[in-house]
């Protein structure tokens, strides 16, 4: 329940479908427009839906400058009656879903294409970081310019100082993700990773070492939101949206980020879904650095705060494990394609629930929790969100 | 052949030597130092206008600035308060024949070496005349001290009580004006007066008396040791500066070497 006392409405009748992943590339000379266009083109190939069928567009991208979603309508030759541009980075998968689902539910749009993508020129990551936000420009970037490595190392360091957790525990998540990635054809990381390799990797920003870090790359992800009837009539396999939450700038007085907005909204999340944490079949976290995956596990109620070590040691995280996690390998093994990184888990969950996953399919998967986290504005990520998807009947 | 042609031939042929009595104008050449609350003579300064560069691709030229009494220079009567109302007292109005005259060189180098405050007296001049003849009227008298061979701090020779350099006594100045009617008086030191001349009576007699009598001064001369006691001709025209009190200048002496 919100502060108004009104109960939130569910997403009855709204479904997600057509998960699209454009294979990532480490560096690309193409602009973001090209990557987003490829996602749209692949979506057309998969669904036969064209410009006349799409009446809603929701875009997330960092490198689209000077354009936004507005310019893309002309570029793509579409005439939507509903348009949004979502700047929430790693939370954009959840946030675009929430926006688009309500638009479809209320009839403001019939079919919304949600697309996210970024290019990665040789120097574009550096250029993006240097102008990321006013706070990071004023008070973050001048301190070593470590980018996310610096911010997450301070979070990780603080977390490790406070709670029982070891690098081995983070390593276990990373190794499992690599195992998943080896079964996912589009992952940039193609070689197995052992715990020894993880532990002995060179330090990047203590205590963060090489395999804690994602590799920036170019890529795009996309999915469609439409009514259940529509999906059925088109013959598209789909998933239901059972619950979502979204929060920004949660716990601003925590001296160092040790929890995210999920912790504020976790009760509502499970109540809306009518489920318990143990009842879902997989978790897709936003995973640029394992510490933030751990926080999502805690704050979404999969284990108690501070009990992550026991939880990690008690479970296995591969697609065939006791707690399938980041089943395509996550950004740590697939790569971080800018804003597409915020879509990676969402699109992967949809694939898993609509029969699209192949070698990395989680057996008999019916439900998935997708979590997002984004935007290190200064010293912490501001955006958090989560969604619970359930396979269509 | 006219006398001028003979002169020109003698100069060109070396029978008459042209001796340069001038110091190079150099920013670091000493100038007279007055007590700090008084106005000071400007140092010689140079700024490039161009040097075959973007300021002027094919040529090199400079601006220079200095005082009227910087470097080897000429003092006109208006330089001193005693000469301020004299007719033709500024460099631009001085009759030009005064700039080409016979010169007598009074060698005080030994005395100056022995006594840095050496004062040239009438007696010393009379003794000199006994050896070299009377100082002719309308000639220049130069006081040779070899001071120009000094450099750095030894040149001004400043101490806490002021400069210590040789110069003429008041009586010597009066003698040269009243008894000999010279055209002017020159020194190797930074002024025509002795370093301690403020303590003479009148103070700065060379300035006060010579200029009061319409006589001229030359200072910061060099190469006086290359001149004969008598017989040379001095050539010393200052710049023609309107109402100028003096001017840096090139001072030359013509010395007859034909008699070996």
């Amino acid at each position: 329940m919100g502060k108004s006392g009104r109960t939130r409405q569910g997403y009855d009748g709204v479904v997600v479908t057509a998960p699209i992943s454009v294979p990532y590339e480490r560096y690309s000379p193409e602009p973001a427009h090209w990557w987003l266009a490829r996602a749209l083109s692949a979506m057309h190939d998969a669904t036969k839906l064209g410009a006349d069928d799409i009446d809603g567009l929701c875009v997330s991208s960092f490198t689209l400058f000077p354009d936004t979603a507005v310019g893309l309508t002309q570029h793509f030759g579409i005439t939507p009656r509903w348009l949004d541009h979502v700047p929430t980075g790693g939370a954009s998968g959840v946030v675009t879903l929430r926006r688009a689902a309500r638009a479809v539910q209320c009839g403001d749009a019939s079919v919304v294409a949600c697309i996210a993508g970024d290019t990665n020129h040789v120097d574009s990551f550096r250029a993006m970081l240097t102008s990321f936000s006013r706070f990071s420009q004023d008070a973050g970037y001048p301190y070593g310019s470590g980018g996310p490595n610096g911010s997450f190392s301070l979070m990780t360091s603080y977390y490790m100082d406070r709670y029982a957790i070891a690098r081995e525990d983070f390593g276990k998540l990373c190794v499992a993700q690599r195992d998943n990635a080896l079964r996912y054809p589009h992952a940039l990381m193609k070689k197995p990773l052992t715990l020894d390799q993880y532990l002995n990797a060179r330090m990047i920003a203590d205590p963060i070492a090489l395999y804690d870090c994602v590799m920036p790359c170019a890529g795009a992800e996309a999915y469609l939101v439409m009514s259940e009837e529509n999906a059925k009539s088109l013959g598209l396999p789909f998933a239901h949206v059972r619950s979502t939450i979204e929060r920004h700038n949660a716990y601003p007085d925590d001296p160092v980020q040790i929890r995210g907005g999920w912790a504020l909204d976790v009760d509502e999340f499970w109540a809306m879904a009518g489920m318990q944490p143990g009842q879902t079949d997989m978790l897709q976290t936003y995973d640029d650095y394992p510490v933030i995956s751990v926080m999502q596990m805690e704050d979404l109620g999969f284990c108690e705060k501070g009990a992550a070590q026991a939880f990690i040691r008690a479970n296995s995280f591969t697609v065939d494990g006791s707690f399938p996690h980041n089943t395509s390998g996550g950004q740590l093994s697939v790569g971080q394609a800018g804003a597409a990184g915020g879509f990676l888990g969402m699109v992967e969950a949809m694939r898993q629930l609509t029969g699209g996953a192949e070698k990395n399919a989680v057996p008999n998967a019916r439900t998935a929790v997708v979590s997002g986290f984004g935007m290190i504005n200064f010293d912490r990520g501001l955006c958090s969100g989560a969604a619970l998807l359930e396979a269509g009947q | 052949m006219t006398v001028l042609h003979e002169l020109a031939n003698a100069i060109a042929g070396g029978d008459i030597e042209t001796v340069d009595l001038t110091h190079t104008l150099d920013p670091d050449f000493p100038v007279i130092v007055l007590p700090p609350e008084f106005g000071q003579c400007a140092r010689f300064r140079v700024e490039e206008i161009s040097a075959y560069d973007e300021r002027g691709p094919g040529w090199y030229w400079r601006n220079f600035s200095c005082g009227e009494h910087t470097g080897t220079h000429f003092d006109a009567p208006v330089h001193w308060i005693s000469g301020k109302d004299l007719p033709n007292g500024s460099v631009d109005s001085i009759p030009p024949d005064a700039f080409v005259r016979p010169v007598c060189v009074v060698d005080c180098s030994a005395e100056s070496a022995a006594d840095e405050d050496f004062l040239l007296t009438p007696e010393f001049l009379v003794a000199w005349e006994k050896r070299h003849g009377l100082i002719p009227a309308n000639s220049w008298v130069l006081m040779r001290t070899d001071w120009s061979k000094r450099s750095g701090a030894a040149y001004l020779n400043m101490r806490e009580d002021g400069a210590h350099t040789p110069g003429p006594s008041g009586d010597a100045v009066k003698f040269l004006i009243d008894e000999r009617n010279v055209v002017g008086f020159g020194t190797e030191t930074v002024g025509t007066d002795a370093g301690q001349a403020v303590h003479l009576s009148p103070p700065h007699p060379a300035h006060y008396l010579f200029h009061g009598a319409g006589k001229y001064g030359l200072q910061c001369l060099r190469n006086l040791d290359r001149l004969p006691p008598t017989g040379a001709i001095l050539v010393c025209p200052p710049l023609k500066i309107k109402n100028g009190s003096g001017s840096p200048l090139r001072v030359l002496a013509l010395v007859d070497r034909s008699k070996g």
């Binding site: 240097t130 006013r134 610096g150 301070l154 | 000493p30 300064r45």
Partner: protein, 420 residues
């Protein structure tokens, strides 16, 4: 414990000089107030005038009570290091060349948590003392120092990026004829400067203290007359490539305004030394220093101008001198702009009436040359770019910051007993 800085080896003439690179220099306009205070060595935070909460980074609005009345105030420098890391990679070339680099999160006693550079002697959970300084890009940054002095603390390599410590550096003092110049040379020698070139104009004029000056360890007397372009250029040709710090002690000052004297000579002489002298030194020495901003432990690091506080607003009793200092003050900002990107700081010390002959008749309080010399060294050691020295200068600067138009009126109004 900090390793004491060793005397840098002689430069290898076959190795290319490292070019200056910069830490990030972009800041919001709001954050420039932090930089301006850091240049004075002050650590300021925005504090809400209504709810008194301190905020960081710079904002437009109090995030606690939504008041727009955020004021920059001097902040409690205490804090605790609650998280830290050692960066081993950076996307920024400057930091990349200086890896590893420690940063950390400090919980300030003033309230907010901040990111900061970390002194090598500070460990996790230690109490720290925060300093705000300008970095090589000229922008304000925070550094956490040990709460208490530690051995060789100033030699910390991250701290030295913010300071201009004269230790093992070669300094040019432009005028050694005055007591100020001589005291400055002594203070620099005591601070560990390896060479102190002291300019003497007109060596044919004796000056008091010359023998003692020549006997100061490391002092080398050099011919230098800042009013003579040739002299300045000749000296720069000789030592311009090894001048790490330049302290311009040359000053020409005479009492009086324009009506106390005829003509322009005095004013011209003041301008020749105070303004054109600075200009000549800039043209001759700044290019070399600019190129050597990252040249090892004895890189070029600072240019120190000593300016009358009446550079800010004219004091008619020293009217033309004030004007020449105003010109020099303005030119110092040009110099700062031209050295931006080199890592060489322009330090301006605005002093009140100095204890010297031309200001002899002024009443106390006055600044002794010894005090000014000590302040130069202190500003260098601390890396502070702007200092007001002495009660008079502090007072004038304070009034100037409050309202320059009022200060202008205050300095130019009739004084009691003065008839109109």
């Amino acid at each position: 414990m900090t390793e004491p800085l060793r005397k840098p080896p002689r430069k290898n003439p076959q190795v290319r000089t490292v070019l200056p690179t910069l830490p990030p220099f972009s800041r919001s306009r709001k954050a420039m107030a932090f930089t301006a205070a850091a240049a004075e060595g002050r650590f300021v935070l925005q504090v809400c005038a209504e709810c008194a909460s301190a905020t960081y980074p710079a904002r437009e609005l109090c995030p606690k009570c939504w008041s727009m009345h955020l004021e920059w105030r001097d902040a409690d420098t205490g804090g605790r290091l609650i998280s830290e890391t050692t960066l081993r990679t950076s996307i920024n070339t400057y930091f990349r060349e200086r890896m590893p680099w420690r940063i950390g999160t400090v919980q300030l006693r003033a309230g907010p948590t901040v990111l900061a550079h970390i002194h090598g002697d500070v460990m996790r959970n230690d109490e720290v003392r925060m300093i705000a300084r300008t970095d090589k890009s000229g922008q304000g940054v925070l550094m956490a120092l040990p709460a208490k002095e530690t051995p060789n603390m100033a030699d910390d390599r991250q701290l030295r990026e913010l300071t201009c410590d004269p230790k093992h550096r070669r300094v040019l003092v432009t005028d050694g004829r005055t007591e100020l110049g001589q005291q400055t040379a002594r203070a620099l020698a005591s601070a560990g400067a390896s060479r102190i070139f002291v300019g003497i104009a007109e060596q044919w004029r004796p000056y008091p203290g010359s023998d003692d000056l020549a006997a100061v360890p490391g002092v080398e007397i050099m011919p230098l007359d800042v009013t003579d372009t040739i002299s300045v250029n000749e000296l720069a040709g000789e030592i311009g490539g090894k001048t790490d710090i330049l302290v311009n002690t040359a000053e020409h000052v005479r009492p009086g305004g324009t009506l106390d004297r005829d003509g322009t000579l005095t004013a011209r002489n003041e301008m020749e030394t105070n303004y054109f002298g600075l200009l000549r030194l800039m043209q001759a020495f700044a290019p070399g220093m600019r190129a050597r901003g990252a040249d090892g432990d004895n890189s070029a690091c600072a240019w120190v101008n000593l300016l009358s506080v009446y550079a800010l607003a004219n004091w008619p009793q020293f009217g033309t001198t004030s004007a020449s200092h105003a010109a020099a003050y303005s030119l110092s900002h040009c110099l700062r702009g031209e050295l931006a990107g080199s890592g060489v700081k322009v330090i301006n010390i605005l002093f009140g009436p100095l204890e010297e002959s031309w200001r002899q008749s002024l009443p106390p309080p006055k600044v002794t040359p010894q005090k000014l010399a000590a302040t130069i060294v202190d500003a260098l050691r601390q890396g502070i770019e702007s200092v007001a020295l002495g009660p008079v200068a502090e007072d004038v600067v304070r009034r100037w910051k409050e309202d320059p138009a009022v200060l202008e009126r205050e300095l130019t109004q009739l004084q009691a007993g003065q008839a109109s």
